[in-house]
């Protein structure tokens, strides 16, 4: 370890390319993982589309989309999907009606008002809600909310099932999704913005609603969209609590079968592969997929339009 000679000569300069097998292997593994994800998605799409094409060769697409009677198993079968869509719309809207205000409220409280210690306790507790199996939620909706609360306690004019109980419980299920992701988004807003706002004489409410909330909007929208997607696609709760009868739902206390509810029920049955009844499942599944896709696209547009980046 003597000091380097004062000459300008470099010991040994080797800039040639050397083999790095682990680098190459890692790159290949990640590439396969990425390709697989895309391939699986495409595979699902193809699996949905192929039987759907068969379905639409027998049932005109107009009749499917705008028909108001859904009776695929009856002798005089009818394939109007509108009743299923109304039930899905009701349960989803009801779920969001409860989940968005409560979820965002919880997120704002945790991010802007709660002490560190409170947040440390509250967030995991909230996330436990997300871990409850949906079948448990479903029975909670049927047995407790619908039978006990709505009928026994409140004496509401409702049957054994309703889109209200299903939607309400589904809303509870989504709260942690919306709250947790929104809280992450708001916590990520730099503190310098809160200080800047406070220094202008804004109170905490103004700072959180007028500075932090808009700054975190893209994350919050993402949280809500994820909530919507979960509500639209949620199956167990609606299959158990919303009802099994496909009819146009006119009010929150009525029962009705949702798109997912239909798929769950029909898939349990004995429909022969390739039969019209079997293909019906995929047509409804495809519609469900397209609706979710549409919601995602709208949300991306909203985020682009109203984004306040920091």
């Amino acid at each position: 370890m003597t000091s380097a000679p004062a000459t300008t000569e470099v010991a040994h300069l080797d800039l040639t390319r050397k083999p790095r097998p682990w680098d190459t292997a890692a790159r290949a593994i990640f590439r396969v993982a990425a390709a697989l994800t895309i391939a699986i998605t495409l595979g699902i799409l193809v699996a949905l589309i192929v039987p759907s094409i068969e379905f639409f060769s027998e049932v005109p697409i107009n009749e499917f989309l705008f028909g108001t009677r859904w009776a695929p198993r009856f002798a005089d079968a009818s394939f109007g999907v509108v009743p299923l869509v109304t039930a899905t719309a009701w349960t989803t809207v009801i779920a969001l009606f409860f989940a968005i205000p409560l979820g965002l409220g919880a997120a704002i409280f945790m991010s802007e008002f709660a002490h560190k210690r409170t947040r440390k306790i509250l967030k995991p507790v909230l996330e436990v809600l997300a871990g409850i199996p949906t079948v448990v939620y479903g029975y909670f909706a049927v047995q407790f909310i619908q039978a006990t609360v709505f009928r026994d306690w409140l004496n509401l004019d409702t049957g054994s099932f309703s889109v209200l109980s299903a939607g309400f419980v589904m809303g509870i299920m989504i709260i942690p999704t919306i709250a947790s992701i929104s809280e992450d988004a708001m916590s990520a807003v730099p503190n310098s913005l809160r200080q800047g706002s406070a220094a202008l004489g804004a109170n905490r409410r103004q700072t959180s609603l007028k500075v932090v909330f808009p700054a975190a909007l893209s994350g919050i929208i993402a949280a809500i969209v994820l909530g919507i997607s979960r509500a639209v696609g949620e199956t167990m709760i609606v299959a158990l609590a919303a009802g099994q009868q496909a009819r146009i739902v006119g009010g929150p206390l009525e029962a009705g079968q949702t798109m997912t509810g239909f798929i769950a029920n029909a898939a349990l049955g004995d429909s022969r592969v390739g039969s019209l009844e079997y293909n019906t499942l995929f047509a409804v599944g495809l519609l469900l997929f397209l609706i979710t896709l549409l919601i995602n696209m709208i949300s991306i547009w909203i985020v682009r339009r109203f984004r306040e980046a920091y």
């Binding site: 730099p190 913005l193 406070a198 220094a199 202008l200 004489g201 804004a202 109170n203 306040e308």
Partner: protein, 289 residues
Amino acid sequence: MNASTDNARASQTVGSTNTIVHGSALPSLEVPVIDCDSVSIFYDDFRAVHDVNFGCKRNEITALIGPSGCGKSTVLRSFNRMNDLIEGARVEGSITYHGEDIYGPDVDAIEVRRRIGMVFQKPNPFPKSIYDNIAYGPRVNGMKVESMDDLVEEALTKAALWDEVKDKLKQSAFGLSGGQQQRLCIARTIAVQPEVILMDEPCSALDPIATLRIEDLMQELRKDYTIVIVTHNMQQAARVADRTAFFTAEASDTTGDRTGVLVEFGDTATIFESPHDKRTEDYISGRFG
């Protein structure tokens, strides 16, 4: 510790005397707008600043200088109760604004901050349009404004930014350069019509040209506002400040924690040309370790 405190007090007295001698060019001695009396600031059990006494006078620029960790920013942030936002921060002694204790039991921190605005080290415009950045303060304060457009123009004009942004008021503030963003933050502060503007190293993130523009602006603003500035840059203090407070950090005999103390306070010329305290002289002349 005691010796140094006494020292600080003594030199401050001398500084004040000098102020009177030097005072012809400065506004006459009046009650300081902000006055610190035996101020100590704690973060939980850690004493960040000990026994600070000085005052900031109307329409003057007061600079707080000193090495890192000397507590000058902590003192500045206590003037508009920004330390309230930090859990465990606590102020002892009294900080008065026009003679009223801003930490008094009935005092609302939000009212204090309306009158004592603040500009931060790193420009922190809101992720909103230039216009909305200015309008935000008046809006949240419920100020009765005849024309928000006029108020926005006036604030931007005072901050010497109007000509550069008048054609893009609706564009995001993030499209501005760092220096422009900092002037926007000054304009935003002016828009709520405070009396005092606190500046926490407002130029440390800016290039020299942007820095000079801000310094020129401070000289303009001095006519209407009382300014307190924390700066790392001694030349900046010498250029802009009427009075200067020199802080340093001293290790406690018992715990070894470093606590900020005010070494010397006086008019800027005295502090820089003939400081009374050896520590000030060492720092000013670059002999500080």
